[in-house]
């Protein structure tokens, strides 16, 4: 019998190929999951279009997200705010009728969170807005989106990158953002 290593390795060729194919499959599967089945753009209970409101009707962000420059949280407008306009505007639209149903039942609309940071992160909209950051820098061109899609990863490297680039004071101290 031969003592050639290559010959001996030949025996294990097939299992190796199978494992490699399996690994490639795994990677493909994962990539498919994060791209195709991404949670960056969830389907909302009401088909609300930012494009319609912001681009077409020129409503500024802070008109609805009233708390963004005042508190850590930007705030979703209350149902009453929506109804403020939609009592008269586009009342026949099926989506607006959905809204009206919520309003009649005095129920909040169960919006699905698109931009979410973990519980151990301290993030304040106020400081970012007051520092002169445009909403679009993090949220992307929302004004052109029919359904809001997350464009930033909202992961720590992404935060740190920007803090580093903009030379935020103490921007790289852990306790600036963690709690």
């Amino acid at each position: 019998m031969s003592i050639s290593v290559r010959d001996a390795l030949g025996t294990f060729k097939k299992p190796a190929v199978i494992s490699i194919i399996g690994l490639i499959g795994f990677i493909i599967g994962y990539v498919i999951d994060v791209t195709v089945f991404s949670d960056a753009s969830p389907v909302q209970p009401i088909n609300f279009s930012h494009r319609m409101h912001v681009s077409k009707n020129s409503i500024p962000c802070l008109h609805c997200h009233v708390y963004a420059d005042k508190t850590p949280s930007a705030g979703v407008p209350g149902v009453s705010k929506c109804m403020g306009c939609h009592k008269v505007i586009a009342t026949e639209h099926p989506e607006i009728q959905k809204l009206a149903t919520y309003w009649e039942k005095r129920e909040p609309i169960p919006w699905i969170k698109v931009h979410d940071v973990p519980d151990f992160v301290y993030f304040t909209h106020k400081r970012h807005v007051l520092a002169g950051l445009a909403c679009q820098e993090c949220h992307g061109p929302v004004e052109n989106m029919d359904r809001v899609t997350r464009v930033s990863s909202l992961k720590m490297p992404w935060c740190v990158d920007c803090h580093t680039k903009k030379q935020v004071e103490n921007g790289r101290d852990c306790w600036t953002c963690h709690k």
């Binding site: 194919i21 399996g22 795994f26 599967g29 999951d33 949670d39 705030g75 149902v79 129920e107 919006w111």
Partner: protein
Amino acid sequence: MNKISRRDFLKFIGAGSIGAGAGLLYGKSTKKTVELLLPQVIPPEDYSPGIATWYNTICQQCGAGCGISVRTREGRAKKIEGNSNHPVNQGRLCAMGQAGLNALYNPDRIKSPLKRTGERGNNSFTEISWDEALTTLGSRLGNLKIQKHGDSVYLLTGGVRGHIDKLFATFMEAMGSDNYFHYDFTHPFALYEANRIIFGEEIIPYYDINNANYVLSFGADYLGTWISPVHYSLAYGHLRQGRGNQRGKCVQIEPRMSLTGANADEWITCLPGTEGLLAMGLAHVIMNDGGYTGSDQNEWMQAVTPYSPSVVSRQTGVEVRDITRLAHEFMKHQPGLAIGGGHTEGNTNAVASLTAINALNYLSGNLGKPGGIIFNPEPAFPNMSIKRQANYTQMLELITAMTNKGVDILLVHNTNPVFNLPPAAKFIEALHGVPLLVSLSSFMDETTALADLVLPTHTYLEAWGDDIPEPGVGFPIASISQPVVKPVYNTQSIGDIILALAHQIGGELPVALPWTQTEDYLKDSWKKIYQERTPVDATAGFDDFWKAALMSGVWGENKTRPLIKFDRLSNNQIQKIHVSQPSFAGDEKDYPFVLLPYLTQTFYDGRGANLPWLQELPDPMTSIVYSSWVELNPKTANRLGISEGDVLEVQSIAGTIRAPAFLYPAIRPDVIAMPIGQGHSHYGRYAQNRGVNPMTILAPEVDDTNGALAWSATRVRITKTEERIRIIKTDGVTRTLGRQILGNNSVHT
């Protein structure tokens, strides 16, 4: 392997798809769960997400009446802090007050009205609606009212004050019943009585520890549990370090070291119950050494004659040297204060003792001046609550009435007589004679567990109310309690319940109580204060006044303390000052130890036991958590062969309990002490079946003068049992071992 066989191809496909599947699953597992953004339907004005809102209200964990600020976020209470506007606690707050959140969000609160289904005490209840509950009770009350049997309705509450107390009183009056009592174990009956004897009025004056140079405390644990601990702690801090180089001295006289004793400069023990005798001894020295030169000198001389230092020394166990020294120090370092409380109040001679202690203040001329005793001016609205406090003897009368079927309906609110009365009073047995026991309580305490109908009330953080702190702070103030959060459970505020009942019963009740909401009732009541007490030129209307009062949480006219002078005592009064030896239940031979049950600043009289933060708070003196224990001197323990954790049987003439021993270095060898507060059989998961209640072995001794329970007048014997448990405490070694931990002046032993 140039050609791929069919078989191999299938294998490859299989591997690839299994891998892809695993990849998909892995991707799924790394994703966050969907979170919802729920907007307010109509956002309230004072709400902004992520920003705290503070509401000022009153703490009602004990009777001190501190003002609190509650931090709320998104409609939930997050933290309780002291209200810095409030003169009682000036922004500070004790452990118990801060644990109020645990009461609000307690998992064992009663969540809706309950009706008893099984036998009494079986703890079987069914939930009913508020309508049903109120109709049931209202019709029963209404029937009695129609039958002119309104006086068979009894109402027993804790130390409710302010306009809620008045609401109760009006209600009961309209019902035609004058059987409205308070029962609060911690109420200082003896102090009120002693003050009545000396000052002629049932009051607690303002003890100005702030400016005192010498505080001589006979058992009063003013830093821990006595009357208004936060206020006195503030004053203590000021006395120690707040006045430049002038540092006041604190002396504590008590058989078992309390928290105040630990902080005093000098801790002196005397035989239990002889504090009054010691005070008389001091008075004797003061008189004989010419420390008092008032016009009634001779009468005083006469009163103190029997209490020469040598006699007192024999009676109290305090050395003559110490008696004279204390007397001289007390006279020399004026202004000074002599105060009494704690175990002094729990003896058969309590009133006499406290009178004698009061006499020291009189003799040193400390009445009505800064650093001494300052009398409170007329309050904004009268505090009738003190008059309604029922002491042990009065409770016995109630119990007799219950036994004799004289009580048709007993309403109990915020008090727990089953737990806080010694079993010798036979309260539980007497309940058999009560056809309807209604509990208005937030928690399933021992009394509520026996109730036929349970109407769950709001906690103080959800309800409207008001209060005048008692004792006052030397100038008139009043504070409002407002709801800081929406009700957590299906409960109602006690005021609303009473008002609803009034409307339910009908007759003259809705006339006397025309309001439907406590808030309106309070506003109307406060209009009086506004009209009578605010300067006429006030431009603001009542609404602004009300808003301002709510915002600051407290209303007060001015912040200077008017000094009300005190007249001399009548000769008759002086002659009456006489302290006898205390008596104890049980023969000294059979029961060699005096049992000192004491209040803890965590559980107070047991009401704090259901709050997990307080259960987990190490006892300040022993660091023990979650249990009961028996404190005894290491010498005693050594003599009896007892070590820490040995379960002892503590036996008095009234009963026996078992608790582990704890060697407490600062207690007289002839006494043992036990904390009150544990030993609940109900009261929620944190309190239930934990430790023992020393109240259950108290003999029904009462004060000679006012008939209040003498809760430190029971003798016991202790026997070591075979059982041994590990006491749960956080302390390791409680000696410094010569290490420089406390600074260089610490005494090494």
